[in-house]
Amino acid sequence: MHANSSIYQRRKLLNRVIMTACISAAAFGIAWLLMIVASLLYKGIPGLSLELFTERTRMSGGGLGNAILGSLVMTAIATVLGSIIGVAAGTWLSEYGDRSKLASTIRFINDVLLSAPSIIIGLFIYAMMVLPMGHFSGWAGSVALAVLIIPVVIRSTEDMLRLVPGSLREAASALGAHRWWVVVRVCYSGARTGIITGILLGCARISGETAPLLFTALNSNQWNFFDMGSEMPNLPMTLYQNMTINSFLPEQVQLAWAGALILTLAVLLLNIFARLMSSRRDKA
């Protein structure tokens, strides 16, 4: 009896020690992450103003208007480009490729590309587009971002199309609908919210990417109204430059923190919006 209870005590003690460790790990991790958010707010909020959105970047401070516009333009083009390719490829994987050898290879490669380092994509587009063209351009930046969003869209499109019940497809076929009609009218309308959620999440991911823009769109402190053939100002690169080569100017650092706050808020809002959309679908 005595031996038993000592084993029991030891098990209980061990359990308590490890569970305490887990709770402190959770508290530690969450506190650490909250600290980042807190310092973002603390350093970013004083820099917020209307000029931030209307002025261009200057050595004396200025605003981030040109960078925000450039980022929006490049992200939008990349998202459209990437969504077309991604949705089409995801459709093939789910509706035509299915279990074939080729489809599983593509799926595997896509999963690997999904988490490939973004700086590699930047180098790739640099060698493919910037070197032959001879200069940095907004197009190169958009293409680099599109390459990054494609795997995300493919993955979510395929997953969402697979959730559409096969009986729906069969019912449509039995009524005499052609295959493409079945996919476009039955599968897409069933998976629409899911696919859009995937695109939004991908969009959130690429809008904060810095490394691929370093060698493609570069940056500029001028306004660039849709001249995709020349260097494109953008928010992430402005943060990077203001925190490194321009960090001796306190105004630039202040600007960078305000920009960081805007960027993070935009990314988080996109994420939350995407999540809300998909949870509404779950309920329906």
């Binding site: 969450i30 490669i109 795997p151 295959r179 943060l239 923190w257 994420n271």
Partner: protein, 315 residues
């Protein structure tokens, strides 16, 4: 429905009875079918082409460095642009050390948070905390880098000046990477841990197991492959991360820097030197990019294979 002899005579025998208009529609839809499957197939194959193009392009543009520097590119301990001598060991060393530190710090904390979220957390907190972790995994890496440079590095320098004389360095970069991949590994670990059927869990509790014994003997064994896959996926991210590292690693090219001293990593070296590089230096940096891609490709492939095995055994 006026079928006439004339209509029947123009249609092939197997379509006996179809009208001309119907035939046209059939043909048009057939063409659209082929067009649709053909174009989606084209875009699906784009993924393979993309991978091939990345490999080939980086290899070709890095070739001058490979051929001119030969073996000294891989074994050299000095990266000096002014004398055209490029050895990758300082950068490779930095990449390995920072990633190792990141994994060492992030794994226990991530597993702890995942256990907390699945086993201990009150139900009403489970969703908000889980969502918070997922949202933090989406924060752009440059934000982590800025925080590391402005908050963590000065903090370390002030409070541990003997260990971190400059504040920045390999360990600081490793810590920032850890913060960055904690939400990531936590999310994957939690996702695989909740796939364990409640029946298994409850029977173990019914036998009198403590929470830790249930986690250790029931939950972990059935999702081990998924957990390891998640960790390796985190490692893949740490190996190639650029922005979070560049700010805090110190960008010092000395080889055999101490673990807490300043150094550089492959990605940080590329980000730092590429904008001003040309000639052999640019080629060497592209070759370095090729190498980084090969390394991360292997690591990520292993991770995906493990996660896939996990999926299959679940199904």
């Amino acid at each position: 429905m006026g079928y006439t002899m004339k209509d029947a005579s123009v249609s092939p025998s197997h379509l006996l009875g179809a009208e001309k208009g119907e035939l046209q529609m059939l043909r048009r839809n057939g063409r659209l079918d082929r067009l649709f499957s053909g174009s989606t197939f084209f875009f699906a194959v784009t993924v393979l082409v993309l991978l091939g193009a990345i490999m080939v392009t980086l290899f070709i543009s890095g070739w001058p460095a490979f051929s001119e520097l030969g073996a000294s590119f891989f074994t050299g301990t000095r990266w000096a642009a002014n004398v055209n001598d490029f050895g990758i060991l300082p950068a490779v060393y930095g990449t390995l050390v920072t990633s190792f530190i990141a994994i060492l710090v992030a794994v226990p904390i991530s597993f702890g948070i995942a256990i907390f979220l699945t086993e201990l957390c009150p139900v009403f907190l489970r969703r908000p905390l889980g969502t918070m972790v997922e949202l933090l995994a989406g924060v752009p890496s440059i934000i982590y880098g800025m925080w590391g440079m402005e908050v963590l590095a000065p903090f370390l320098q002030r409070h541990l000046p003997d260990v971190f004389p400059a504040g920045t360095g390999l360990t600081t970069a490793g810590l920032i990477l850890a913060v960055m991949i904690i939400p990531f590994i936590t999310a994957i670990t939690r996702d695989v841990m909740v796939t364990v059927p409640p029946m298994l869990r409850e029977s173990a509790y019914g036998l009198g197991c403590t929470t830790w014994e249930v986690v250790r003997n029931v939950v972990f064994p059935s999702v081990r492959a998924g957990m390891v896959g998640g960790v390796i996926l985190g490692l893949g991210r740490a190996l190639g991360e650029t922005m979070a590292v560049t700010f805090v690693i110190g960008n010092n090219l000395f080889y055999k820097a101490t673990v807490t001293g300043q150094g550089t990593s492959i990605a940080a070296l590329i980000a730092n030197q590429f904008p001003e590089a040309d000639g052999l230096q640019r080629s060497a940096l592209l070759a370095l990019g090729f190498l980084l891609f090969v390394i991360t490709f292997i690591v990520l492939a292993i991770a995906r294979l493990m996660l896939r095995r996990m999926d299959r055994s679940k199904a």
